[in-house]
């Protein structure tokens, strides 16, 4: 086995952008802090995030960037008043402080008195977000005594007007009844989430409840709201699979410890040796066959909210799932009618259709029947119609199978175009060399000889992958990890261990 101590070439990715929104008492402005690796928070002047409230300890807590799962963690440093994490007081673990809590988009930390029913006037609320931007403007809206109904939506008559096309014209209503405030969804397209859960009926709002409408977060305080005015942002996917087991009687583990992050603009190649579990991985990510673990899509729990979030993953099937006897124009227009927001005007819809036509070069085949276009063109049509759902993630299983080089390349370029629209693209392909330079990341799955289970053997940039596996092209990585019986070198376990060691090393740093 190679001397792993001498071959540390993997470069950890820099911490992903994350923002803390800090909300103090109503007299103080709301402000945002960009998290940049490990940072301390407290009242002392030399901490990274300085809070002036008397309720805050001198060194109250610490944010830590973990390279292995590419996530931030928060730990309370045994502060006097402690920290509430999403409403629950963080318990002391040892002399250093509490157990580190992995942070996810929308998590809320509160520093106040230990009795939450008696909040301190200078209590601090910190919202962790990977979807907020440091540039987001936060607005406080005080509810006047004579206001009993607050409309939220994209229409101009909305009390809280959110200029985001993903927000419905009339999205939600917040209403006062007998002195209590309630919220309900007025038939919106993308739903209303309160404290992370989609609401189905009218529900009672408690002070400090967090309402999320697309990328806008509103925090209700009883007599006021704060909310962010946001620009449409990119997508994010965090995969944290502990294991995927099949079989009720004879249990077999197919995947183990698969952890990775994908960001908007990423075009990720999924490479794998024979039987390494690429299809199992794909089905787990798509939610078709759920794995033990957690998948966060755009900051929301994908498995938990599968019915709502499944539309955020666009699938381009290996074999085209389109009726042969339709013209490309009919296929595209029907897809647009099915999936575009009916709130949009005809002009807006036409603009989108035109941009899709141009982006995927459909003009020349617009009036041609699907059965008469080439394999590459068929794939382009499949990708084009999947975009109308505006998914955050596109997952493609061998989109280039059965195509010649020119068409394979053509399809990959279409996918790159898609990724460039602030999307994430994950591709399983057996011909990665055709378009190696188009991939921003590569994830390698390998089947361990020891436990006959698929593990992650690498995740990083293409350059680093070539260096890591000591090869000069992506195709050769598969040769490295494939079993000897499959024509490979049978070195899967070596690379799995090497990658784990590097991940471990980086975690310790």
């Amino acid at each position: 086995m190679a001397d792993v101590q001498n071959t540390v070439m993997y470069k950890p990715m820099p911490p992903q952008p994350a923002t803390l929104v800090i909300i103090g008492n109503p007299e103080n402005p709301i402000y945002s802090v960009k998290l940049n690796g490990n940072m301390t928070v407290g009242r002392r002047s030399d901490v990274d995030i300085n809070l002036t409230s008397p309720i805050v300890s001198r060194v109250h807590g610490q944010f830590t960037w973990n390279t292995s799962d590419q996530c931030y963690y928060y730990m309370d440093c045994n502060s006097l008043n402690g920290t509430f994490f999403n409403g629950t007081m963080m318990k002391k673990l040892n002399e250093r402080g509490s157990r580190a809590q992995r942070l996810e988009d929308g998590d809320i930390l509160r520093i106040t008195r230990r009795n939450p029913d008696n909040p301190h006037p200078d209590a601090i609320m910190i919202i962790y977000s990977t979807s907020f931007s440091i540039n987001d403007k936060w607005v406080r809206y005080r509810i006047a005594d004579d206001v009993n109904s607050i409309k939220v939506g994209r229409s101009e008559d909305s009390f809280i007007n959110i200029d985001d096309p993903r927000v419905s014209q009339h999205h939600a209503v917040i209403e006062r009844e007998d002195g209590k405030w309630y919220i309900y969804d007025t038939g919106s397209t993308n739903g209303v989430f309160v404290n992370g859960n989609p609401i189905m009926d009218k529900i009672l709002l408690d002070p400090r409840d967090v309402i999320r409408i697309v990328d806008t977060t509103m925090i209700f305080f009883g007599d006021s709201f704060i909310y962010n005015i946001t620009k449409v942002r990119g997508a994010s996917l965090s995969i944290d699979i502990d294991e995927k087991v099949v079989g009720a009687i004879k249990r077999k583990t197919l995947l183990k410890d698969i952890r990775l992050e994908v960001r908007s603009g990423d075009m990720m190649l999924i490479l794998g040796g024979a039987g390494a579990g690429k299809t199992t991985f794909m089905k787990a990510v798509l939610g078709e066959s759920k794995a033990k673990g957690k998948i966060m899509l755009d900051g929301q729990d994908f498995y938990k909210h599968y019915r709502v979030l499944k539309y955020k993953i666009g699938i381009v099937p290996q074999f085209p799932s389109i009726r042969d006897s339709e013209k490309v124009s009919d296929i595209v227009l029907d897809a647009s009618k099915m999936n575009l927001n009916p709130d949009l005007s005809e002009a807006e819809k036409n603009k989108i259709i035109e941009s899709v036509k141009n982006r995927y070069s459909l003009n020349e085949i617009w009036d041609t029947y699907y059965e008469r276009i080439s394999g590459g063109q068929k794939k382009r049509v499949s990708i084009a119609i999947a975009t109308f759902n505006n998914p955050s993630l596109f997952f493609l299983d061998e989109p280039d199978s059965g195509l010649d080089y020119a068409n394979r390349r053509n399809v990959m370029e279409a996918l790159k175009t898609t990724a460039d629209q602030n999307k994430m693209v994950m591709v399983i392909t057996h011909a990665p060399n055709d378009a190696a330079e188009l991939f921003t990341k590569v994830m390698v799955l390998a089947k361990s000889k020891k436990d006959k289970t698929g593990h992650i053997a690498f995740c990083g940039t293409v350059e680093d992958a070539l260096e890591f596996f000591e090869v000069d092209n992506l195709q050769s990585i598969v040769v490295r990890i494939n079993a000897e019986s499959e024509g490979g070198e049978g070195r899967a376990d070596e690379f799995i261990e090497k990658y784990n060691l590097l991940r471990g090393n980086n975690n310790g740093n």
Binding site: D330, M338, S355
Partner: protein, 279 residues
């Protein structure tokens, strides 16, 4: 910039898919189904035409032929429709297509086809068969035959849709079809008299109710037996209650056809809701 995912309403989806079915009808020469239906109708009408409404037995056999042809036409219209595009539907379901909208769009499209086929069938039959003038509900029996044919074809057609939703391949559908047809023919009560369990099973067949409706409109019970023509002293002892020539009876049969259509549509929708489980 594109907008976030939006699925149109169920009603909107029905409209999109009905339009799609008619486009495909034009491109795939769907009118061939109407031509096949017309040929079968012509064969039946040609063979039974001169013998209808003279004796009880001949007329009953004639109606049986028409009912059998109608069930065949209805089933054949649709039995491969859904299973042949199962992988497409699975994908579309994932991207927001409601199965209720999809199935209802097929039912609407097939209803139009069935109506055209019923009209063609009745026109062809009228050329060879001299229908009595009076109807049970209307002043003429022609609209009653038309409604009966239409509802019978539609119930058979939706039965085809239900089979097509349950099976996974066109081959499987075509394997099931003869069994369903044979069951319909046997259970019509024409070839064999039905008792006990078979009588109960027959309650769920289109053929039994098709025969009842036709027999009622044509007032089968009023027609003489063959033997009576030779030996006038021999008379029927009792009438067959299944062919009771009253408007109530006919309306009940039409209601049963509509019930069949609704239940079979629901079966289609429910079975397709599990399409995500397909490998």
């Amino acid at each position: 910039m594109e907008t976030e995912v939006k699925r149109t309403s169920r009603l909107g989806q029905i409209g999109i898919y009905v339009a799609k079915h008619f486009r495909i009808f034009v491109h795939e020469k769907g009118w061939s189904f109407i031509v096949f239906g017309a040929i079968i109708s012509w064969l039946v009408a040609f063979v039974v035409g001169g013998k209808m409404f003279n004796t009880y037995e001949n007329t009953k056999s004639g109606f049986f032929s028409i009912v059998s042809a109608g069930i065949w036409i209805g089933l054949f219209n649709s039995i491969q429709t859904i299973c042949k595009e199962r992988s497409i539907i699975k994908y579309e379901h994932r991207t927001g297509l409601h199965m209720s909208s999809y199935v209802l769009s097929h039912v609407i499209y097939q209803a139009v086809i069935c109506l055209i086929q019923s009209i063609v069938m009745l026109i062809i039959c009228s050329i060879y068969i001299d229908f009595p003038e009076d109807g049970l509900i209307f002043s003429s029996c022609i609209p009653e035959y038309l409604i009966t044919l239409f509802l019978m074809l539609l119930a058979s057609d939706v039965m085809g849709l239900a089979i097509s939703s349950i099976v996974r391949t066109p081959n499987a559908a075509m394997t099931v079809m003869p069994f369903v047809l044979i069951l319909q023919l046997i259970m019509s009560g024409v070839l064999f008299s039905l008792d006990g369990i078979s009588k109960k099973i027959a309650t769920f067949t289109v053929s039994k109710w098709g025969m009842e409706a036709m027999g009622s409109i044509g007032d089968l019970n009023s027609l003489p037996l063959k033997i009576t023509l030779q030996y006038p002293q021999i008379q029927k002892v009792s009438n067959n209650a299944a062919y009771e020539a009253t408007s109530e009876h006919l309306l009940k049969v039409w209601g049963i056809f509509i019930l069949f259509t609704v239940v079979l549509t629901a079966i289609s929708i429910i079975s397709l809701e599990f399409i995500d489980k397909d490998k």
